[in-house]
């Protein structure tokens, strides 16, 4: 028991650190503080995830509800992923945020958000999950409306509204689960009390559908996706990077928890709800890519791409088989890496050139080669061209689809393919025109605009990871199959 206090460490560190950071006006000191916080969290998170399974009952709210932390395979996975990427982005932000102002506020919330995410990963029952989920919403709104412009505030409210509504739907499900589950503590394979559930299957399926749509809101799944293209572009680049790289994954985590740790895959498999959700996911995949393809504003395009890519994950999850699950988690990792990479690259471009429209980016590759090279790798990986990372995950997803679900699976695979093409269609032009501006581009007044190491290093690291994990996915796959083993 006493040992399990350590679970609080990765949560409280950044929370307290964030509060401290609010008061730090001096840039240098702040950077040190933030780095300290984030790194410590990273260390503690990784450290924690080497511990055996632990659980910590923090507070009993009476009735059947309590605030309860638990460390399990899924949690470890999430902890490492989040804390790792968070650190990199933090470094990027140091430089980027200089031109946004009110930095102490940004970093304060940024750091605290990390703590909340840790808590999300460690949440041991639905109440705790819901609690951290709501907190995450509230605490990330400031990141969205950071620059305080009218549209930023509007976007912030849209984000708030959608997320709260999603959470609300999830809460409805919570009430029902509390009645039909033996317990709302997560346990692999589900806790549904079949004696109660018998006869109420359809009710429960409906509830599941609701919860999926609710949590799916954060993951940008239709029909609640439209906050994402509004909120991401207005936020500062680092914020939008983590928003679409990580926060969307928080939704995914919640979905996994509910689907595999409360309902249980076996109960849901083959239900009409599953079919509905698969269709929704696929629709989102396709629509997202289409919209991204038509979108001209750089960050908005990336946001749409997020909509599409995260729904790959959801598709994989809703397949409810281990292959799909593996593919989904791989996609989680890769998309987290790549999308951060892309957003940061976009951020770098905006930071240096102030160009936000894709059509203006002619010859950008000549000005900031490193950035655009990284961008190129990210793009390739996102499209899923072997040997980059994206390929592996998509491969699994397609397999999972075709394996169990005849027509639907094949259609799914097809759609994945199409959307991959579209992805190529909306990402590659940036690269190509960036490097090959064409004849009428005057090389005369071309000056290097390469950003400083604060920005480039994280980009490079991310790009490297994207590629390397594609080439050597073995370890990762093992880990994931370790997770999925207990679920199926």
């Amino acid at each position: 028991m006493f040992k399990s206090i350590v679970l609080l460490l990765p949560i409280l560190l950044p929370l307290i650190g964030g509060l401290v950071v609010f008061r730090m006006r001096d840039a240098k000191a702040r950077r040190i503080a933030v780095s300290a916080c984030v790194l410590c969290t990273l260390v503690s998170a990784v450290g924690v995830s080497f511990l055996p399974d632990l659980s910590l009952r923090i507070w009993d709210l009476g009735g059947s509800i309590a605030i309860y932390l638990r460390l399990d395979a899924m949690g470890r996975f999430f902890l490492c992923l989040v804390s790792g990427i968070w650190t990199l982005v933090a470094f990027f932000a140091y430089e980027y945020m200089q031109h946004e102002g009110r930095e102490e506020r940004f970093f304060g919330f940024y750091t605290m958000t990390l703590g909340i995410l840790m808590g999300l990963g460690l949440a041991g029952n639905l109440l705790t999950l819901y609690m951290f989920y709501e907190m995450m919403t509230l605490i990330t709104v400031p990141l969205v409306i950071h620059n305080g412009s009218r549209e930023a505030v509007a976007a912030g409210f849209k984000y708030l509204g959608y997320s709260t509504f999603g959470a609300g739907l999830a809460l409805i499900g919570f009430f029902f689960l509390n009645r039909y589950c033996s317990t709302t503590e997560f346990s692999a394979g589900g806790t549904l009390d079949f004696s109660l559930a018998a006869g109420n299957e359809n009710l429960l399926f409906a509830v599941w559908l609701l919860m999926m749509i609710g949590f799916g809101c954060k993951a940008g799944m239709m029909p609640l996706q439209s906050w994402l293209p509004t909120a991401h572009p207005v936020a500062p680049a680092p914020a939008s990077a983590v928003l679409s790289g990580i926060i969307t994954k928080a939704g995914v985590l919640a979905i996994i928890r509910v689907t595999f740790y409360l309902f249980g895959a076996d109960f849901l498999r083959g239900s009409w709800a599953q079919t509905t959700l698969l269709c929704l996911a696929l629709a989102t995949v396709f629509a997202g890519s289409m919209l991204a393809y038509k979108e001209k504003v750089f960050k908005k395009r990336l946001a749409y791409s997020t909509v599409s890519q995260v729904s790959y994950v959801l598709f994989g999850l809703f397949l409810l088989n281990s292959v799909g699950f593996t593919g989904a988690l791989l996609q989680v990792v890769f998309h987290a890496l790549v999308k951060n990479l892309l957003f940061l690259a976009a951020g770098a471009v905006i930071y240096k050139t102030g160009k936000t429209d894709v059509r203006e980016l002619v010859g950008i590759g000549k000005q900031m080669p490193i950035v655009i090279w990284c961008f190129a790798f990210g793009a390739l990986s996102l499209i899923g061209i072997p040997p980059t990372a994206g390929f592996v995950s998509k491969w699994y997803l397609a397999q999972g689809g075709i394996a169990d679900y005849g027509i639907l699976g094949i259609v799914g695979a097809a759609i994945l393919l199409v959307s991959a093409l579209l992805t190529a269609g909306y990402l590659l032009p940036v690269v190509t025109r960036g490097f090959f501006p064409g004849r009428d581009f005057d090389y005369a007044n071309l000056e290097k605009k390469e950003p400083s190491g604060y920005m480039t290093v994280p980009l490079v690291i991310l790009a490297a990871l994207a590629v390397l994990l594609g080439i050597f996915p073995g370890g990762l796959i093992e880990w994931i199959s370790g997770i999925s083993a207990v679920l199926f």
Partner: protein, 491 residues
């Protein structure tokens, strides 16, 4: 403890207030001492009576065998009584500071103190006649408070308040007469007083009457479509809006509805009837309507008033589930909402008192200007939105689980309504908070340069209350246990 002690918390403040009206105290210091003394003494009295309850009924007046003015404390009454007795002193101190800029303090504190007694009377009432008596007196005693400023808007609001409350009371009166005729007694009896031999054959009639009575008492609980008076009444001085229109008066309405439903007609008689459907629908509608209107209202106090409308219907919805669990949910939200909403109103009051700003869009950067106030506001808002583990969540949890357990489709709809309203709540409260902490672009900080937190008399109650709203959430379980006993008819 002798049973006659029961009448002290009721009569003492009424007398104290009356004395004050008859012999105004001009010196502010003396007045404050007098009022504080009276209120604290009475709070202590009330709490002693409520905790070491003397068993037995105290009959004050005996009209006839069936009709008496009698006091007794049972579980529900105890909850309400304690709630009021705790909140009243806080509000009193708050109003000492606040009323400085409203003037006519003798009148105000006179009626304010009287109302304390009347409310205790509502809580202690042993039968419907007594409840009705204090219910009417409540209207009369609070009317001057609503019309305090006596300008056009206040007069209008007062008149509206009067019309609504009295018509409500009139309907409640009808319900009472029917209970007198078809019931075995007027005394509150958990599970209802209807005499089956007399009632049989008149079910529809009695259910109609129940609906009448529900809406009659519901008027004070601001149930749609009889909620109109509450937002208008927010022209009253803030302590009034805070204590009376977020706690005392409106909760008295809710309390009366609980009495009517669980102690008058009885759930078993009503459960599953069309009457239940009607009242529950009304509650569900109100839940959503109130929040929606709150979102549309830029005037801070009116917004809070609408939010009260919505939240009161959480309670009513829970009550109309007519299950013990429902009663538990209702009671808990009654308590928690009281604490939270009074905090919010105090913040609004503090802002008005310091800056005379009444509209949400005037509050840019107040997070920095009035840190304590806005901190309290934020905590309370989170509580009201129902973020676990704060108080609001616990009660909402209770209500929703109760609703799910009934398995009625309408109850499910109610749950959905709760969620929608939670969303709207988040929007209309966060709108304030975000604006206060993240001023819009191009806002000049000079405009709030000399704005600052009010003095201790105001901030201390604020802090106490917001702390309470957190603690209540964390330590809810013993409270819930008590409510469960009440709902089981044990207390």
């Amino acid at each position: 403890m002798p049973v006659w002690m029961l009448c002290l918390p009721v009569l003492f403040p009424i007398l104290a207030g009356a004395v004050m009206l008859a012999r105004p105290i001009e010196d502010r210091k003396k007045r404050q001492i007098y009022v504080a003394g009276a209120v604290i003494v009475n709070a202590v009295l009330a709490l002693t009576v409520l905790i070491w309850t003397p068993d037995g009924v105290l009959t004050l007046l005996r009209f006839s065998d069936t009709m008496q003015i009698a006091l007794q404390i049972d579980g529900a009454g105890r909850v309400f009584g304690i709630l009021v007795s705790l909140l009243w002193p806080l509000t009193t101190f708050y109003s000492f500071e606040y009323m400085k800029h409203e003037g006519r303090e003798n009148k105000f504190f006179g009626f304010f103190t009287m109302t304390f007694g009347v409310i205790e009377g509502v809580a202690f009432a042993d039968n419907f006649l007594t409840l009705y008596l204090f219910y009417e007196l409540l209207t009369l005693a609070t009317l001057p408070l609503v019309m305090h400023s006596m300008d056009g808007r206040a007069r209008y609001a007062g008149k509206k308040y009067l019309i609504y409350s009295l018509s409500g009371a009139a309907f409640a009166f009808i319900a009472m007469i029917f209970l007198l005729t078809y019931g075995s007694t007027l005394d509150f009896t958990f599970g209802g007083v209807l005499d089956p031999s007399r009632a049989s054959g008149h079910e529809t009639l009695l259910q109609t009457v129940f609906v009448l009575g529900f809406f009659g008492f519901g008027v004070k609980a601001a149930i749609f479509p009889f909620h109109g008076w509450l937002p208008d009444a927010s022209v009253a001085p803030t302590p009034v809006s805070a204590l009376l229109h977020a706690v005392a008066v409106v909760k008295a309405g809710v309390f009366a509805v609980i009495r009517l439903t669980y102690y008058g007609f009885g759930c078993d008689f009503l459960r599953g009837s069309w009457a239940q459907t009607v009242v529950m629908t009304a509650a569900v509608v109100t839940i959503v309507y109130g929040s929606a209107m709150a979102l549309r209202t830029p005037h801070l106090k009116r917004r809070l008033a609408y939010s009260t409308v919505s939240n009161l219907s959480y309670i009513l919805f829970s009550v109309t589930l007519m299950t013990p669990a429902g009663l538990v949910g209702g009671l808990s939200h009654m308590v928690f909402h009281a604490v939270i909403k009074i905090t919010l109103f105090f913040c609004a009051g503090a802002i008005i008192y310091k800056t005379h700003r009444e509209y949400v869009y005037q509050l840019d950067d107040f997070g920095r200007a009035m840190p304590v106030t806005m901190a309290a506001f934020t905590i309370a808002s989170l509580g009201l939105m129902g973020i676990p583990p704060l108080a609001g969540f616990v009660s909402k949890w209770g209500i929703a689980t109760a609703a799910v357990e009934t398995g009625m489709p309408l109850a499910y709809a109610g749950v959905a309504a709760l969620i929608v309203s939670a969303l709207l709540t988040a929007l209309y409260l966060m709108a304030v908070v975000l604006r206060a902490y993240f001023p819009a672009k191009g806002f000049d900080p000079a405009s709030v340069k000399e704005v600052e937190d009010p003095n201790r008399l105001m901030t201390v109650p604020l802090l106490v209350l917001s702390a309470a709203s957190v603690l209540l959430g964390l330590c809810a379980s013993p409270l819930i246990a008590v409510f469960e006993q009440i709902a089981a008819g044990l207390l």
